[in-house]
């Protein structure tokens, strides 16, 4: 057990994966000598060589398509997409190849590819550097999608992702790279919770607050603030975005009767919609109010001077908690159009 930053924990997970399995290769732009723009792959090329840690030409479709070819050959590529907003040139290869090859070949060809994507906003970056594209992938059958919220999960789930025989999109909350935490590296992968499980971060009884990735910390802060007002918030960290661990959310909502979901991605068609509608189906008679979504707006990611107005923060989450609890809130008085 040692203390390390989020970024270091992923680095340690990658190192271990490279050590354990000669078929693991890392691919991406600037991941070699530079160690990636976030230094997550720092030192790995030096230690494992340029054939295991591969600086690729600047072409995302090329990276993804050649990872598919490597997987055909029995490799387990771990691909780094430099920033969320640069994943789209690879979209075709992800959606039509990575996601579908196992189905297409009736299980003959496996695609054990891990796609690491630093994502989300809050770091004052220019356009295309702060996006939350996860819903595109959770709507794509054949992929697994996860997001991590603390160094231990980052380590454990990275290793689980690499070990998975199915392709995994692994979303790293870039604004948390420098957060530190305790990490136990001597884990038995087989004994860990499966990749698809959510985790209750704070237990509570009045309202269920579901989130993932960068907003887990914000949600926990909100729960603490709410506690000061005597409101008991249960915070669930999804961890797996596809499939979603609905059983845990369901159990929580049966207890609280109230649900708030928060994410940075735009509202329309975001994960909040899937969670709200599935939970409504599963818990209709237990819900005391409509599930509330606190999300980024339906806008392109704004210039950084405006990002604080787009990103859900503690206050907006608390306003959502108030709405779920039918307490006075910013929408009070607006009848019907409760949006």
């Amino acid at each position: 057990m040692s203390t390390m930053t989020f970024g270091r924990a992923i680095n340690a997970g990658l190192r271990r994966a490279l050590e354990d399995d000669p078929k693991v290769v890392l691919m991406g732009e600037d991941i070699g000598k530079l160690g990636g723009v976030f230094r997550v792959t720092d030192g790995l090329q030096k230690d494992f060589g340029p054939h295991r840690v591969i600086d690729t030409p600047l072409a995302e479709a090329g990276i993804m398509g050649s990872a598919v070819g490597l997987a055909y050959r029995g490799y387990r590529p771990v691909v780094e997409i430099q920033f969320d907003g640069f994943i789209y040139p690879a979209f075709d290869q992800i959606v039509c190849q990575v996601a579908k090859l196992h189905y297409r070949t009736q299980g003959k060809v496996r695609m054990p590819i891990t796609i690491r994507v630093p994502f989300g906003g809050g770091i004052g970056s220019p356009e295309h550097h702060s996006e939350s594209p996860e819903a595109y992938f959770t709507h794509t059958s054949g992929l697994r999608v996860v997001s991590v919220s603390n160094p231990q999960d980052a380590y454990t789930m990275l290793r689980q992702a690499v070990a998975s025989d199915d392709p995994v999109l692994y979303f790293e909350p870039k604004r948390r790279y420098h957060v530190k935490g305790e990490v136990e590296e001597n884990i038995e992968l087989g004994e860990e919770l499966p990749l698809g499980s959510a985790s209750v971060r704070i237990a509570g009884s009045d309202v269920t607050l579901v989130t993932y990735g960068p907003l887990v910390k914000t949600a926990m802060d909100a729960a603490l603030a709410a506690a000061d007002d005597g409101i008991s918030v249960e915070v669930i960290d999804l961890r797996s975005l596809a499939p979603i661990d609905f059983s845990q959310i369901e159990a929580s909502v049966r207890k609280t009767g109230r649900l708030v979901i928060t994410h940075e991605a735009s509202r329309s068609g975001g994960l909040g919609a899937e969670i709200a509608s599935t939970i409504t189906e599963q818990c209709f008679n237990h819900l005391e109010s409509a599930p509330v979504r606190i999300t980024g707006f339906d806008i392109p990611y704004p210039p950084s001077k405006l990002e604080s107005h787009h990103l859900p923060d503690l206050d907006r989450i608390l306003d959502g908690v108030d709405r779920a609890l039918d307490r006075p809130n910013s929408l009070s008085g607006l009848v019907g159009r409760t949006k």
Partner: protein, 382 residues
Amino acid sequence: MRTDELSNSPGQQDSGLRGDSGIIQLVSPEGDLVGDPDFDQWVEDVSDEQLSSLYEDMVVIRRIDTEATYLQRQGELALWPPLLGQEAAQIGSARALRSDDFVFSSYRENGVAYCRGVHYGDIVRVWRGNAHSGWDPYELNMATPQVIIGAQTLHATGYAMGIKNDGGTSVAVTYFGDGATSEGDVNEALVFAASFQVPVIFFCQNNQWAISEPVGLQSQIPIASRAKGFGIPSLRVDGNDVLAVMAATRVALRRARTGGGPTFIEAVTYRMGPHTTADDPSRYRDANELEIWAAKDPLARVRALLENKGIFTPELEASVAAKADAVAKEMREACINMPDPSPMDVFAHVYSTPNTTLETQKEHYARYLDTFAVASNEGVNG
């Protein structure tokens, strides 16, 4: 002919590559040996027997093509993409491969699949709508047809990166069309292949058309020139000349096996049929274009060569026809008797590990189907 037989290139030196101007041709449309100082040597080991066997392959796959077209007209197949006219390009290249080479093709390379040893019924499985893949890629060392134009060229390149990492001597071979050369994927594949100097062959069948679009819309200069700008040597070969295609492929294979990196081959050929059975070429191309190319028919050419060599005997003709008949019959029967997939197969193999969301949907659909079973049982009993 077995796959490996022709794959042992004889001991020639790599003869280097020609400029854009020269199309490699070893046999004229009239079946005469042209006499090529550079490339003849690459096929000088091809015996009369092997030549006859290449002819047989071409007749058989033309027959497969015809039979599949019939099957489509009879409603047994949903669609079929004929390869009529491209037999030499496919047989000449595929027969040069070793069985451990790995092929990544498009949808039209059923002749290549034949050479890789596919079960005949498996050729039409996809086109009947029974499955998305006709065979196990690892059994034939050939990926199943790729529909997304150009995507497979990157897969081949990545596979070749793996071969190189493994220190292997096999080669990844990717087939694609003239139209595909415009896609970003194909160009990125050239970038990666050149950058990592991996053993991959880019085999472009320039059949002059991408559905209704003539090749000139994709490139106004020969397609083979494209690769040079990426630092990849290329060969332009008469795609209707089975020996020329084999020679070019062997040159490229030799280079790849000996660490020389990628090669691009443009096989200049012609799609004599429609794009698919759903297409109507009369809307966009002149009948006389077809005539011009019919005069260069790849089967007629190898037959003329055999005749000129005096080895085209009635026995050969009969045995080839018998083989073609047998293959066609087997394919037809396998096709017609292919069992339909069962409803719950719709959920199979989305993941290799259980997925809770999908399991729930599957469970529910099973229940839903059961309600009909119950209803109809009730109907029967009641």
